[in-house]
């Protein structure tokens, strides 16, 4: 009798696979946004602490002193349970230069000044960690989860422009003193290009993270990736396939429904886009709607206020990035401009806002100031109400 070796090999493989699949105990969890991510819970805290932590007079300040890298961009903020505020941004000779590094600094709850900045990621170190050539890095996102584990997501490019990016991740369990090795997230079947990160991650009650990302190669559209509490990629959600809807900010409405806001890229007469998703985890995308806020192909940041309204930081002009403003809306489509944070003239650039809320309901905003410094603003509901 002739023995068919390939059939035997196949049989062994299939039995082994079936065994592994059957013993795979990872149950599919029903994901829900964490209560702490919802506006109502923060609103309650804010109400309790009203007056106690009020920001008497919001003032604009710079995060880093002059004399840093010639070009800085893409600031990000997060806060730890003890009230420490942490910031990161990228800086170097210019955006996309090989000497660009990710800088990091902190501000203690009662401190007036930010600490001196340190480098937490560089092209060289990332190349070594990933054992592959990295030409440039950029777009950091910091996020502290409910365990106070600090996550850093940033993009790395091996070849080409930003559309050749993939997402790399690190974490720190000691508030940013030391960091894990970089780990690459494989999010695309096309040589793992082109997924970029910009928006603020959201934590689920199971500890999973929903990280808003976007795709830029051939077509541009918004997505989100879901990571488990150990940073392992679990799945990917297509937020929209409409061209040019990038850099999503996901704002939870309840434990599954959310609103996503997008920067509009590449179209004349651009404006901020939004989409209501009844269940973001089921990739249940709603129709993309156009808001009445002009968008000069510039990043936005949106969060929800304690009263359920949306608060957006954007450049509400048709071209240029010389004006940065705060706007509020109850439905996400119709917006009311509250005030200008910056109002300059071209070629001034006040861009890439990143907005988070503190434990007591204050808002913390960081943005790029003329590509040379990172600027920071802290304000509260009371101040916002007075402006309305």
């Amino acid at each position: 009798m002739k023995v068919d070796i390939s059939a035997i090999a196949w049989g062994i493989l299939v039995v082994a696979c079936a065994g592994l699949l059957l013993t795979d105990i990872n149950k599919t969890e029903t994901l829900r946004f964490s209560e702490s991510e919802l506006a109502t819970s923060v609103g309650a805290k804010a109400g309790k602490n009203a007056g106690k932590n009020a920001v008497a007079k919001p003032e604009l300040s710079f995060v880093l002193p002059p004399g840093g890298p010639p070009s800085v961009h893409s600031g990000t903020l997060t806060r730890l349970q003890d009230g420490q505020l942490l910031a990161a941004w990228f800086g170097g000779a210019r955006e996309g230069a090989s000497d660009v590094r990710i800088f990091f600094c902190r501000r203690a709850p009662d401190a007036a000044e930010w600490s001196a900045s340190t480098i937490i990621a560089s092209r060289e170190q990332t190349t070594e960690d990933l054992n592959r050539h990295i030409a440039k890095i950029g777009n950091p996102i910091l996020f502290a989860d409910s365990r106070d584990r600090l996550w850093l997501f940033y993009v790395t490019v091996s070849f080409g422009g930003w559309s050749g990016s993939s997402i790399t991740m690190k974490y720190s369990d000691d508030a940013g003193e030391s960091w894990s090795k970089a780990k690459r997230l494989v999010t695309s079947p096309f040589l793992n290009v082109s997924t970029l990160v910009k928006g603020c991650p959201i934590e689920c009650d199971s500890g999973h993270l929903v990280v808003p990302v976007y795709h830029e190669f051939v077509r541009k559209f918004g997505e989100a990736i879901i990571l488990d509490r150990d940073g392992n990629l679990q799945s990917k959600i297509r937020l929209t396939a409409v061209r040019g809807a990038i850099q999503p900010w996901i704002v939870p409405l309840d434990q599954q429904a959310s609103m996503a806001f997008f920067r509009q890229s590449g179209h004349p007469g651009r404006s901020v886009l939004m989409s209501h998703m009844p269940n973001v985890f089921a990739s249940d995308c709603g129709r993309l709607e156009t808001s009445h806020v002009p968008n000069p192909d510039a990043a936005i940041a949106v969060i929800r206020r304690h009263n359920g309204e949306f608060l957006m930081v954007c450049n509400p002009i048709d071209s240029g990035r010389h004006r940065l403003s705060l706007a509020t809306s109850s439905d996400g489509v119709n917006w009311k401009l509250v005030r200008h944070v910056e109002d300059g003239d071209p070629p001034d650039e006040f861009s890439y806002p990143y907005l988070i809320r503190g434990a007591s309901g204050q808002y913390h905003l960081i943005y790029t100031w003329n590509r040379s410094r990172m600027r920071y603003l802290e304000f509260d509901e009371e101040w916002l109400e007075n402006e309305l």
Binding site: L21, R132, H133, L233, R238
Partner: protein, 208 residues
């Protein structure tokens, strides 16, 4: 980076180089020569280059190789050394058709040409069972190499030997789809006097 993935990327690089040398041969390689053709690129791949090594530099531009292309590169090398039979043309054509169809299913969707994201299906557990079933069908249809490639891809995915948690990344890569499409087109446009003989050898019949 896990040691398994490190070994995979270095071996992939060495296999690629060794297979690129195949068209240069004038006669069948012997086994020691085949091993040498693998060892030299392995050593070359470990050569330091710009904070990484040569294979890491190339890998950054080519992406990770999928399981089927890895197996096919190994089989080509073994066949060149006379250790296995070359993959017969009809089976190769069928396998190529399969890889191209997979590519059509995944890449346009991943690039956003349609709303649905077929790549995201690769994160779901039922897909692994479907691929196993497909490999069974391939075996029944006497597509042994294809069946082995599919089962091995599921196996390596379950063991999480590579970086990606998505089964599609274990099943296909753009180079496999491009090579398959190129081979299909090449064979479609060239005269093929050996087709009867090839067809007979695929079905296990021996020509007299």
């Amino acid at each position: 980076m896990s040691p398994a993935f490190w070994a995979w990327s270095h071996l992939s690089f060495a296999l690629l180089i060794a297979n690129l040398l195949l068209p240069l041969r004038k006669q069948r390689w012997n086994f020691p020569f085949g091993v040498m053709c693998l060892l030299i690129p392995l050593a070359l791949g470990a050569w330091p280059l710009r904070e990484t090594d040569f294979s890491g530099f190339i890998l950054a531009h080519t992406g990770n190789l999928s399981v089927p292309i890895f197996i096919l590169l190994v089989l080509e090398l073994l066949a060149a050394c006379g250790l296995t039979q070359p993959h017969c043309r009809r089976n190769r054509r069928n396998a190529n058709l399969f890889w191209v169809m997979c590519g059509i299913l995944v890449y346009p969707s991943a690039l956003g040409f349609i709303n649905a994201d077929t790549y995201a299906v690769g994160y779901l557990k039922p897909m692994a069972w479907c691929v196993l079933a497909l490999s069974g069908i391939a075996l029944i249809c006497r597509q042994k190499i294809l069946a082995l490639c599919l089962a091995a891809a599921v196996m390596i995915h379950q063991l999480r030997l590579l970086e990606s948690p998505n089964l599609w990344d274990y099943l296909i890569d753009p180079w496999l789809c491009l090579a398959a499409a190129f081979q299909l087109m090449w064979n479609a446009f060239r005269k093929n006097p050996e087709s009867v003989q090839e067809s007979a050898s695929c079905s296990g019949l021996r020509q007299k």
